[in-house]
Point group: C2
Chain length 436, copies 2
């Protein structure tokens, strides 16, 4: 390809992110041309329906088409940008594009987490690049550092706040003392939560991102199905108050850890709400911001912080990938391909080491604490702190454990629930990010 | 180059960073081979003197040589790694290497900030890669995101804590109320400050890094000489206490801003101590950690945090660059070359907009405040807050201004110093990171 011609782009999808991609391509045209060495040109924009008002976009209306497949098959298309989301038809489109040697830039976390291997294989087959910086943590340059900068190091753990909606809700609960429902309502009104917030509050969105992060960090293949997932709808105002008393706050975390088992190195990946100390760098990440804390053997702790969602921040990440893909097209080079040589086994959640914060409603009578403590001892779970409050019919025990395997902690909770003196288990939350 | 042979490295320097590079190459050998597709092999290690005890390094002692030039001229060397520091002979060695088509990985901030253009030109001439992630903010993957991830966006400001020694000193002053001398002594004892701390405390180290960051962020060429520099030896315990009263702390910042002047876009780059609000993400960066806050038009605010110094963290960044350079060698590709098309004019410090915190010892008599306020008005500097303390012969005025050009603020201070009623100007500090 001569550097005098332009690099031609097919854009699939023109919603919140897609329209910002169009705007940035227009606004930054001169800079982009200087940085790439050739102009970028939109060859077409595939949308579901023509005729929707897009009059404010700085683009020739004749570029819109409903025929995505014909667009990506055109010989004059160099790079395909997918911001449609979902598994199909995105997957078919991207496989078709990659096999035909067209580089792909996508923000599709669900597809990458479910079937990234197929996309990477198609990229290898077609000799094309597959970039997906925007799929995790929006504008934050995170995947390129993991894919490239840290390749001389060994990452041991990735801990992230990768869902802006739930971080907004939890930050609001921490600041105002509101309960989950009230905070969700506020988030919905302000546009931080969708009408159906399930994917966010139940942790599906974070789990997809966790799979992508774990794959890159540990050079192995992790899919969404490998991720232990627990939503944050059960976090109460009482939990947040209890966290504060402990000098903590509550965040929905994704945690990917490298570990070693009897049969070699393993990886564990989980998404769940957790208490973390206020002194932890992730504790201060408020509003709808995202941040990812990476620990590597030589580098030590690293943190990446920024906007994890929104059309314009996400479009910034998409544009960065477009520049890289376009440069490679012009120079006939390729990005580093998928690195999954490590092939680590996925460790079940039961083997993850964590701590539990358990809040129990108990009958207040002599010997209660002894009985409860006995259950922990039977399961070889060591207690770090106990707080007792209330009296008589309304006593509450809050117990925080030391670090133990999740299976032992879960079995302890199960056994506690069967005790007569335990009226109910008010809440169970994991505690992360501090000394065990 | 066939992928069955190894990629051969010449290491120049084997001090704190160099010896950690040797160790990581050994420890991570299997992973590095898998990631690169070929093994890395040390062809030689140039040191100033042979015979120094290096028995603990996992390397064949015959690799050591005092003849760096012969080493880098060897035909079987693919990548030259420079961790010697300083301008000469490092510059000559690297120019020689690059012109001969050998890729260079360097941690040499002073050289890049003084004469980066010459190195980039040599790289272009020889068709070689020039990587220098380790030159700024140690282990933090920062330059690659600026060089690549943000290339579809427009960076407007970079604000960084890029010197670990001074951050340790200022964090210690903030935590304990100690003065500069006492905190410096502690830093020296703990190994955070060198015997001669001038380069750190006078801001020379930060200024070199600021030049490198500004060049990458704004696609222009900025050298150390373009950077306004003010050290932090004048920061007193009283300043820190005053910062606390304002809900601030004091950090040594590097600030690179894009702006526009009558003759087009400009850039300003400065290093000085400044008060920043405790709510600013940089305020919580303690100990010897580094962090860089980047603002981009589409991405919004981003922050990168981690260890900015130390042998092993720095070696992590060097290794990441080695992997990239080695991969390029094997696939016959090249990294994006220098991007300096913007050629922005450097704006003098006087035109930078900032705020001043001015502490004055004044005679306590009627009309003092009116006289002082008059001086501000004459220079068209607006006052945000005034605090007066003490009485009679020992009164103190602390004035914080609104945002104004640095030249007007400096002229105000100069005029105040000439007033009879001003006994002395106890301190002047800039205030950054908040509303003007």
């Amino acid at each position: 390809m001569s550097s005098t011609r332009s690099v031609r782009l097919a854009l699939l999808g023109c919603g919140t992110v897609g329209s910002e991609v169009v705007r940035l391509l227009h606004e930054q045209a001169a800079d982009l041309t200087a940085r790439i060495g050739a102009p970028l040109e939109l060859a077409g924009i595939a949308v579901r329906r023509l005729g929707r008002e897009r009059g404010d976009l700085p683009v020739d209306p004749s570029l819109f088409t409903t025929d995505a497949l014909s667009l990506i098959k055109r010989d004059d298309v160099d790079v395909v940008i997918e911001v449609v989301g979902g598994i199909e038809p995105a997957r078919s489109w991207l496989i078709e594009s990659l096999r035909a040697g067209k580089s792909v830039v996508t923000a599709n976390k669900a597809l990458l987490a479910e079937d990234g291997g197929t996309l990477h294989a198609a990229a290898a087959e077609g000799g094309a690049d597959l970039y997906y910086e925007a799929s995790v943590a929006g504008a934050i340059p995170l995947l390129r550092p993991l894919r490239e900068s840290l390749h001389g190091d060994r990452v041991t753990q990735v801990t992230g706040i990768v869902n802006g909606t739930t971080n907004f809700i939890l930050s609001s609960m921490a600041a105002t003392g509101a309960g989950f429902d009230e905070a969700l309502e506020e988030a919905t009104e302000l546009g931080y939560a969708e009408a159906d917030p399930t994917a966010d509050v139940e942790g599906f969105d974070a789990a997809a991102k966790a799979a992508i992060l774990a794959s890159l960090a540990f050079h192995t293949r992790v899919t969404a199905a490998d991720v232990f997932r627990e939503g944050m709808t059960g976090v109460t105002a009482g939990d947040m108050a209890s966290a504060k008393e402990m000098g903590c706050t509550i965040k929905l975390l994704c945690i990917a850890q490298r570990g070693s088992g009897v049969e070699g190195d393993t990886v564990s990946v989980r998404v769940h709400p957790a208490m973390i100390p206020l002194s932890h760098p992730l504790a201060g990440v408020g509003d709808a911001f995202n941040a990812v804390f990476v620990e590597a053997e030589a580098a030590g702790p690293l943190m990446f912080y920024g906007r994890g969602a929104g059309g314009r921040p996400t479009a910034s990440a998409v544009l960065g990938d477009i520049v890289a893909a376009a440069r490679n097209k012009l120079t006939g080079t390729r990005a580093p391909s998928e690195s999954n040589y490590a092939s680590l086994a996925v460790r079940p959640i039961g083997e993850s080491m964590t701590r539990y914060h358990i809040s129990l409603d108990v009958a207040e009578r002599p010997g209660v604490l002894a009985t409860v403590a006995g259950v922990f001892a039977q399961h070889e779970v060591s207690i770090a702190t106990v707080r007792q409050s209330g009296r008589e019919d309304d006593a509450k025990l809050v117990i925080v454990t030391h670090s133990a395997p999740d299976a032992a902690l879960a079995a302890t909770v199960e056994a506690l629930s069967r005790l007569d003196i335990v009226r109910s288990i008010a809440s169970v939350l994991r505690v992360e990010g501090g000394a065990g």
